[in-house]
């Protein structure tokens, strides 16, 4: 609670700054939204001016910002001039897809990365360790869209185990939902996996040289217990920070994968809104991403104290 009180002003400040700069950046982009909506050819300047007036684009930037911020605070991010859809509704309706994707990806990545990092660190320098690191490096250097295409080629086109595109919602059919989510989640996970593994391996190797690990061995504990109970927790700080950042960045991370797999998520919404110059939609989503980032990182800060009692009692 004390932590919350200390961090809250900082949290709000960050959000305010982020919202301001997003608004400015998006508004200062070249290209007139009114022109985009009406189409470039054969529209009279009067019609454009009329639309600008309706959209409020004739008012000063700062006024427009506070106007937008005011409604944003009450949960109204405006209405897309292209589709007429409420931005808030659009985001909320697509959010479950993106969250499921992101969470699945991180769970898969962690489930593979933690044991692999333990094996790697325990046998550091061995051939096994070098092979694991080598595969990790290879995975890390493959761009996300390539990974997605590979997976589609192998598991959807080649083996036919999973659908190549499309989404079935969890409420319609949980089994089909998992089938449709697995490949996209896997292509996100493969890239994260390598990063998590390398981070954790480095920290584990460091931890394994600590005196308290020697003491744990001197107690006659089996190696698996030493690795899981004694070494993992003190080694997982950087891992948790990065997982937190990635969880916050799930939406932006999912843009390409959602587009390739044609999933109705927030990432794809953002991508399409950018293409259509749907400013209100872009602003809304970016504000949403930034909020997610800040909130998740705050939660990560709270989690440090779960990992390390010294942080807990320092408060």
């Amino acid at each position: 609670m004390k932590l919350l009180a200390r961090k809250l002003p900082w949290l709000l400040g960050t959000l305010f700054a982020v919202s301001f700069f997003t608004f400015m950046l998006v508004s200062l982009l070249p290209g007139d939204p009114a022109v985009m909506i009406l189409g470039a050819g054969g529209v009279s300047p009067e019609a454009i001016a009329q639309l600008r007036l309706e959209l409020g684009l004739d008012r000063p930037l700062v006024i427009r910002y506070f106007d937008w911020l005011g409604s944003a605070l009450s949960g109204d991010l405006g209405r897309s001039p292209m589709t007429g859809q409420s931005v808030t509704d659009a985001i909320l309706s697509r959010l479950p897809v993106t969250i499921q994707l992101g969470v699945m990806a991180i769970v898969i990545a962690l489930a593979l990365a933690i044991p692999l990092a333990m094996v790697s660190a325990y046998f550091a320098g061995s051939r096994l360790d070098r092979s694991i690191s080598g595969v990790g490096f290879a995975l890390m250097s493959v761009p996300g869209f390539m990974m997605a295409i590979f997976l589609i080629l192998i598991f959807a086109v080649g083996l036919g185990w999973f659908p190549a595109t499309g989404w079935v919602s969890l409420t319609d059919s949980p089994a089909a939902n998992l089938r449709s989510a697995l490949l996209p989640a896997l292509s996100l996970a493969m890239i994260e996996l390598a990063l998590y593994m390398r981070l954790l391996r480095t920290d584990l190797i460091d931890t394994l040289q600590q005196d308290y690990i020697t003491l744990a061995r001197a107690k006659g504990l089996p190696n698996w217990l030493i690795l899981t109970r004694h070494a993992l927790r003190p080694s997982s700080f950087s891992l948790m920070t990065v997982v937190g950042l990635q969880l916050g960045g799930v939406i932006s991370g999912a843009i390409i994968v959602e587009e390739i797999f044609a999933l109705p998520g927030v990432g794809r919404l953002l991508y399409q809104s950018i293409l259509q110059r749907d400013l209100l939609m872009v602003q809304g989503i970016v504000l949403f991403i930034a909020t997610a980032y800040v909130v998740v990182n705050f939660l990560v800060d709270l989690c440090y104290s779960l990992l390390d009692p010294r942080v807990r009692y320092a408060d």
Partner: protein, 347 residues
């Protein structure tokens, strides 16, 4: 090697222990041809400067050196378990060795600030060996752990047990480390500089605690220190280590009355004494202990020895017995004590 130790049955007999380690600078000759034996309930003090191979030797007895760091190892570590069987720990695979760590031998570490896991409660760290080796259930192990904490002199043990290491002072933490070591009632306790990292006022308390527990449990103890004064009154036997070798070994009283090796003498003179007139300068040993990388020819102490002779730089002196003295050995061509036949030890 006719160490009698007649009164008590033999617990440990180390013969020709040699350990060479890989390091980024090359091969480290950490332990060279070390031999000694230890009976139940007795204390062996191992004295030497930092870098003399004391800790590596202790860890190799426990089988705690990382396998990959060992470039070469030879010699035997015969350990008599409870049923009087003799086992060579040097040949024992880690899977079996693990079951001896805790119940047969345990270790107290130098720095209590780093020896306890910062993220685990004392209860977890104390009950682990109890549950692992003695098969106690959670509740039994917990109450036994509280007894252990009380036995090492921690006030309010029942309340302290759920704390984390950082909530305890250095001396208290060392008591916890000792409690962990004693958990399974080991026959041998290896204390690797147990007081070096502690305040002077706490040092004596911890040493006294170790002595009391040793008596109560009839444990043998290997007390490793760089301070000859620490072992003077507490050890039955003293081994002086230099550059990975035992350069002198004797019953504690014999060592102080008729030390043979110039290095022992130099160590002895570097202890401040209460009877010295004030402002007496301490006699520091000139030079530095040798790097143990790529063993040099000749006696390792020769460059710092005030009695050095040409021969010392050409040949490595073998370990020889002092004639007419019980269990007194040294490795010097020109031992210092007068009245003893120097030529005897020459060849």
């Amino acid at each position: 090697m006719t160490d009698a130790n007649q009164h008590e049955p033999l617990l440990l007999r180390v013969t020709g222990l040699t350990v060479r380690l890989n390091s980024s600078h090359g091969l480290v000759h950490a332990v060279e041809d070390v031999s000694f034996s230890l009976a139940r309930g007795q204390t062996l003090g191992i004295v030497g400067e930092s870098g003399s191979g004391k800790s590596v030797m202790a860890r190799s007895l426990m089988g705690l050196l990382p396998r990959r760091s060992i470039a070469f190892g030879s010699g035997s570590i015969l350990f008599h378990t409870d049923n009087a069987q003799e086992q060579d720990l040097a040949q024992m695979p880690d899977k079996l060795m693990r079951h001896l760590r805790g119940p047969a031998m345990a270790m107290v570490f130098q720095d209590p600030m780093t020896a306890l896991n910062p993220v685990l409660r004392l209860s977890v760290q104390l009950t682990e060996p109890l549950r692992q080796h003695l098969g106690l259930d959670r509740q039994q192990a917990r109450s036994r752990a509280i007894e252990l904490l009380a036995a090492v002199g921690i006030p309010d043990a029942a309340g302290r047990i759920d704390q984390y290491p950082h909530q305890l002072s250095g001396g208290m933490r060392q008591r916890v480390v000792i409690a962990i070591a004693l958990a399974c009632n080991p026959a041998l306790l290896i204390a690797d500089e147990p007081t070096t990292a502690l305040d002077v006022t706490v040092q004596k308390q911890i040493l006294d605690l170790l002595a009391r527990l040793q008596r109560e449990h009839n444990m043998a103890m290997i007390l490793i220190t760089h301070d000859l004064g620490v072992v003077a009154s507490r050890a039955d036997y003293i081994a002086v280590m230099y550059a990975g070798r035992i350069v002198e070994y004797a019953p504690a009283r014999t060592l102080f009355t008729s030390m043979q090796h110039p290095y022992t003498e130099a160590l002895f003179k570097s202890i401040p004494r209460i009877n010295d007139p004030s402002h007496t300068r301490l006699q520091a040993i000139p030079g530095r202990p040798p790097q143990l990388i790529n063993a040099a020819v000749g006696c390792a102490f020769a460059p710092r020895c005030q009695y050095v002779q040409p021969r010392c730089r050409q040949q490595t002196p073998p370990v020889v017995e002092v004639p007419d003295a019980r269990e007194h050995r040294h490795a010097c061509f020109y031992p210092i004590s007068p009245g003893l036949n120097r030529e005897e030890g020459d060849d």
